[in-house]
């Protein structure tokens, strides 16, 4: 198969990334030509503490197979307790997913810093693998 016709059947992932911290990390992955699946799409937001649980549910109901929150972790310039706040949001969202009959495993959060290009690529590959497992369960 030629490069131009290569098919990517991996699960569709929506990434919520943060403008100042994780977005530069994801940009860096591209700048270094690190390959990850074309089924990964990114929406940038200012801070992971501002992500609404309904957005995650809407994404899954609209065809995405998983949602990944690339959080600032302890690097967040807005909130020193950003990780804790985002953790609470993730829990709340997972409960919402359960209520709607969706696996909470379809939402994942990890800190992606401005130089975490390799870890971002590896998170995407692992998440897609895990989603395939969830789907086959």
């Amino acid at each position: 198969m030629s490069i131009a016709a290569k098919k990517d059947d991996a699960p569709h992932i929506l990434v919520f990334s943060t403008n100042n911290i994780s977005d530069p990390g994801i940009d860096m992955a591209g700048s270094a030509h690190m390959h990850y699946s074309t089924q990964v799409q990114v929406i940038s937001v200012p801070c992971s503490s501002g992500i609404k649980p309904t957005w995650v549910l809407h994404a899954l109901e609209s065809g995405f197979d998983g949602v990944f929150i690339a959080a600032d972790g302890t690097d967040c310039a807005y909130l020193p307790d950003c990780t804790t706040r985002t953790g609470v949001l993730v829990k709340k969202t997972q409960d919402l997913l359960k209520e709607h009959g969706r696996s909470p495993k379809r939402l994942r959060m990890a800190a992606v810093c401005s130089v975490c290009s390799e870890s971002f690529v590896s998170h995407m590959a692992n998440f897609q693998k895990d989603i395939v497992k969830i789907a086959s369960d």
């Binding site: 131009a4 569709h12 929506l14 591209g30 501002g50 609404k52 609209s62 995405f64």
Partner: protein, 576 residues
């Protein structure tokens, strides 16, 4: 949405995008999307020629929205916002779509997939643009005065420089005596000037400067207002309070030194002291060095005490940072010792020597004067024996771990800087603290003295361990940022802040609890209490948005409608 007139421009970026994404297919795919009236490609959208052409298109086609699919917004968001403005289009009606770093470059192995992804990204950008209103920056008039908290060397130098730029400096110091740590230090590297003399010369200049008001024995009690016009309340002496208006605040509250545990390296012994104590000892007398009633002939320095620690049972909250200045400082103390009494044997037990830059010359000098350097591994630190003759045992990794025993008259623990406990100030200013416990800047390289609190800057060792010259350099950096802010007379802030749907809001107070910036207030609206955003205080991070049980909050540029529309646009493309 259908009434919008959006122009979409796809960038080849030379071949950086078009080598891996079929840009013509992207253009064709979006040309009939709702709201789009024009779609074009450019070899380099950032070039002057392309910008001129796009500006003409904005005018000719009466565009009310613009989407440029090119590189990361980190590179050209402001370029294109400014171009939009020049074309008479509200800059916030411009949306940048990243199809380079997050598409073509990440998928150089899959042109089909990359093209499909780029189409979805552009569609999502169009969906966002359709819902993007015109916004204006928030303009705030500024007061040409600044408050500097902490009159150590960074604070003194900041005050002098600001005053000379025509900005009145209110310099406050908690202690009765200004000067901070430097005021108590002896001979300083590299010039040899003594700390008190350096501080005295600065204080003399401060006294002569009309543009500086120095308050000692004074603390900050309250801060209200916003960037450009803060009201600060100070407590001077026992009970007096003063209210001042300032446009900016520079925090230069300094550091604390690491205090070893009593059991750490025999610190409970009177002849085991810190480097700061030894430096004070060197300031006293001439010739042979006396300490605690005896003559000092053998000194063992143990480096990295309380620095570069790892988490362990005995150290649950480690100081992981290297203070950087302490290697040079200890070596400088050794040189002073050699110069006072050449017969003193000096043994430096170190993990790594960090006498960076020109301080390497001091390291050379200490070696030439006879200092002996022994390297130990962090896993097998030296042991200090205080029973009987004071002695230190170390496994020297430079001689394949050979155990060496040193009889010493004095053991000097080379301690570094630790963050100063200052909960009250942190609470008043809402200053962010980094994981190392020091105050946190927005970005260590690009915005090194700014904090997320607009108009509040940090400088000197309250931010991280620094030498005196580094402290002064950061103080001057904070001065230039302050002057840049206040000399213009006004400041413009990003309008991408939270907003409240007053009809939905029932004032449950959840949003105020979530907001650490005090940016939400209670107001009356149509006979009921509702939340209202104070735009100049809001950072737009959106922490208040998901906690609202009534879905009454949104952040401009990231509204519920916009994010949902973007997800829908992705979804539509996925289904194709």
């Amino acid at each position: 949405m259908l009434n919008r007139r959006i122009g979409v421009f796809i960038c080849h970026c030379g071949g950086n995008i078009s080598d891996y994404v079929d840009v013509e297919e992207v253009r064709k795919s979006v040309e009939n999307s709702p709201g789009v009236v024009l779609s074009k490609k450019h070899m380099f959208t950032c070039s002057d020629a392309a910008q001129t052409e796009m500006m003409k298109d904005v005018l000719d086609e009466k565009l009310d929205g613009l989407v440029i699919a090119s590189c990361s917004p980190k590179l050209h968001l402001h370029t294109f916002r400014s171009m939009s403005e020049r074309a008479g289009l509200n800059p916030y009606r411009y949306v940048q779509v990243n199809i380079r770093e997050q598409c073509s470059w990440a998928h150089t192995d899959n042109m089909r997939g990359a093209t499909k992804k780029a189409i979805a990204l552009v569609e999502a950008g169009i969906a966002k643009s359709c819902l993007m209103p015109s916004l204006s920056t928030i303009r705030v008039e500024t007061v040409p005065k600044a408050l500097i908290i902490g009159a150590g060397i960074a604070g003194l130098r900041s005050a002098l420089s600001l005053a000379r730029l025509g900005i009145h400096a209110y310099l406050i110091e908690r202690e009765e005596q200004p000067g901070g740590w430097v005021g108590n230090l002896g001979e300083l590297f590299p010039q040899g000037k003594k700390g008190p003399s350096l501080i005295d010369s600065l204080l003399e200049q401060v006294r002569r400067e009309e543009g500086i008001t120095l308050f000692t024995g004074t603390e900050l009690l309250e801060k209200s207002g916003n960037i450009g016009n803060f009201t600060v309340k100070l407590k001077t002496g026992q009970s007096d309070t003063i209210s001042l208006n300032v446009g900016a605040i520079i925090v230069t509250t300094g550091f604390d030194t690491y205090a070893p545990q009593k059991t750490e390296y025999g610190f409970n012994d009177t002849n085991v002291i810190t480097l700061a104590e030894y430096e004070r000892c060197l300031q006293e007398g001439t010739g042979e060095i006396q300490y605690n009633g005896h003559t000092v002939k053998r000194v063992a320095y143990i480096y990295c005490v309380g620095s570069r620690q790892k988490t362990s049972e005995s150290c649950p909250s480690p100081n992981t940072q290297c203070s950087r200045y302490c290697c040079t400082s200890a070596i400088h103390a050794a040189i002073l010792t050699h110069k006072r009494d050449a017969t003193v044997g000096q043994y430096h037990l170190y993990r790594d020597i960090r006498t960076y830059g020109k301080y390497e010359l001091l390291y050379d000098e200490a070696l030439n004067l006879g200092s002996i350097f022994l390297r130990f591994d962090a896993a097998t630190p030296p042991t200090v024996h205080t029973d009987g003759q004071l002695r230190v045992n170390v496994h020297d990794t430079l001689t394949r771990g050979e155990e060496i025993e040193i009889d010493a008259d004095l053991v000097v623990l080379v301690t570094g800087m630790v963050p100063r406990e200052n909960k009250k100030l942190v609470n008043i200013l809402k200053l962010p603290i980094g994981k190392d416990g020091f105050f946190n800047e927005i970005h260590p390289k690009l915005r090194p003295v700014e904090t997320v609190i607009d108009g509040v800057f940090i400088a000197g060792t309250c931010q991280s361990p620094k030498t005196i010259s580094e402290s002064v350099a950061s103080a001057l950096s904070a001065v230039s940022k302050t002057a840049g802010l206040l000399k213009r007379g006004y400041v413009e802030l990003e309008p991408l802040v939270a907003m409240v749907d007053a009809d939905r809001c029932v004032w449950c107070d959840e949003c105020t609890k979530a907001c650490p910036y005090g940016a939400i207030q209670k107001v009356e609206h149509n006979g009921k209490e509702v939340a209202e955003i104070i735009p100049v205080l809001c950072k737009g991070e959106g922490a208040c948005v998901p906690v609202c049980p009534k879905d009454a909050l949104d952040v401009e540029g990231y509204t519920d409608h916009q994010i949902t529309a973007m997800i829908d646009a992705f979804s539509k493309e996925m289904a194709k």
